[in-house]
């Protein structure tokens, strides 16, 4: 649907911009424009929706000094358009009607129903669309001992995997990371684990059609990243790299032939964690660090979270909007994580 400032005919859908919003009506004649309320004529329209009625004004009152635009329909809309005389009759039959609802039954719903036969509000739909497509990358970090592990584990395949885990520490990590994921999906996307078709791929990775997520655990910590686009996260306990005499030997395995092989423990740790996060985001058969490039710009890395106990890297298209939360029991605190992680 396009909008043009042009002469109106009976049965046209028309609109006018009043401040930040558009007001819609059905044109009958210069003396008769039928509309659901009027934001200027009813100054307190937002406060008292019960008083708003379908009314008729002349075109000057409708426009309130602004330019009126007329809806011009595409082929699909022309096919379903209600004949103009029926539109006028329908609009007139609803004069005095109440039940205004700013979001679900407003002037645009009224006008589209009279003219096209279905109720729509593009203003709301456009904003919802915009909101739902905003870039999100949220990281949730929890200490295994602090994790809120109450409630059942879903789906049964994950529960079976946990039950089959004999090593107590790994079992605790798997429970904690899964419950943290459950919370993260609810908190960031209002998604319930049972509703997202969560499944395990043949390669052992868990995935869903409704959101992208990535899991990691190391030592006493678990981390979950959720995003609207593919995402990878990796955490490693720093102690394994910084207090391990043999770590320098890893250099030949971590770096690719074209990379500068800095063999300091800090650099090896950084390379490892970044590369694993990128691998998790991009997928693949098995993680061979030397085959994973470190040049991706959509990575953040840091070691200042969790009192320096872990190194964390997260990789995803929406990393510029990174938010980090620390979970302690059933309490969640947002940290100014973007400063703690750098490119």
């Amino acid at each position: 649907m396009k909008w043009k400032p042009k002469a109106c005919a009976a049965g046209d859908m028309i609109r006018v911009q009043l401040g930040a919003i558009w007001h819609y009506g059905v044109f009958v004649s210069e003396d008769e424009v039928i509309q659901f309320g009027h934001p200027v004529l009813n100054r307190r329209w937002l406060d008292d929706p019960d008083k708003i009625r379908v009314i008729s004004t002349d075109i000057a009152a409708f426009a309130s000094g602004n330019m009126v635009e007329v809806a011009c329909f595409g082929i699909a809309e022309r096919l379903k358009r209600v004949p103009p005389e029926k539109t006028v009759a329908l609009a007139r039959s609803r004069m005095g009607e109440s039940g205004y609802d700013l979001l679900h039954n407003n002037c645009e719903h009224f006008a589209t129903e009279c003219v096209l036969g279905d109720r729509k509000c593009e203003q709301t739909e456009r904003y919802v669309e915009m909101w739902n497509h905003r870039q999100v990358l949220d990281v949730y970090l929890s200490n295994v001992a602090d994790a809120d592990t109450s409630g059942p584990i879903f789906p049964p395949e994950r529960l079976a995997q946990i039950v089959d885990t004999t090593a107590p520490k790994l079992k605790a990590q798997r429970i904690a990371v899964w419950k943290t994921l459950e919370y993260a999906l609810l908190r960031s996307f209002n998604l319930h684990m049972a509703d997202i078709g969560i499944r395990r791929t043949p390669s052992g990775k868990w995935e869903s059609d409704r959101a992208y997520f990535s899991l990691s655990h190391s030592g006493d910590w678990v981390a979950v990243a959720v995003s609207e686009s593919p995402v990878g996260i990796d955490i490693e306990e720093t102690i394994h790299f910084l207090e391990n005499d043999g770590v320098r030997r890893l250099a030949s395995k971590v770096y690719g032939p074209d990379e500068v092989a800095d063999d300091s423990p800090e650099a090896i740790m950084r390379a490892w964690v970044i590369k694993e996060s990128c691998f998790k985001r991009d997928g693949g058969e098995s993680f061979v660090p030397a085959n994973v490039s470190m040049t991706a710009k959509d990575v953040r890395y840091g070691t200042d979270l969790a009192d320096g106990q872990i190194a964390l890297a997260v990789c995803g298209r929406s990393v510029a909007n990174l938010r980090i939360y620390i979970r302690r029991g059933d309490k969640t605190v947002r940290v100014e994580g973007s400063e703690l992680l750098s490119q």
Partner: protein, 85 residues
């Protein structure tokens, strides 16, 4: 699993930070008693957009509520809590 009131408050803060026009410092400090208009400078149209986003983010539907029914952050949390029951 359900979000606690504290979680909802934190989520509301995140929503406000993602929306245009709110002072981030005021939003980060916002508590239950923070006034939407006077303290956060959310006008009626901003409130409309906030309601749309809350519906999406909390999976609830606002039923014909006058925008000025919400004076403080706590009022919004009360409404979300009632709807989630």
């Amino acid at each position: 699993m359900q979000l606690s009131r504290e979680d909802c408050l934190e989520k509301l803060r995140d929503i406000l930070l993602d929306m245009d026009g709110c002072d981030p410092v005021a939003v980060k400090a916002a508590g239950e008693g923070t006034r939407l208009l006077e303290d956060l400078q959310i006008n009626s149209v901003g409130m409309l957009y906030l309601v749309i986003v809350i519906e999406e983010s909390f999976d609830i539907r606002f039923e014909n509520v006058g925008i000025s029914a919400f004076r403080t952050v706590g009022d919004v949390l009360d409404y979300i809590g009632d709807k989630k029951k």
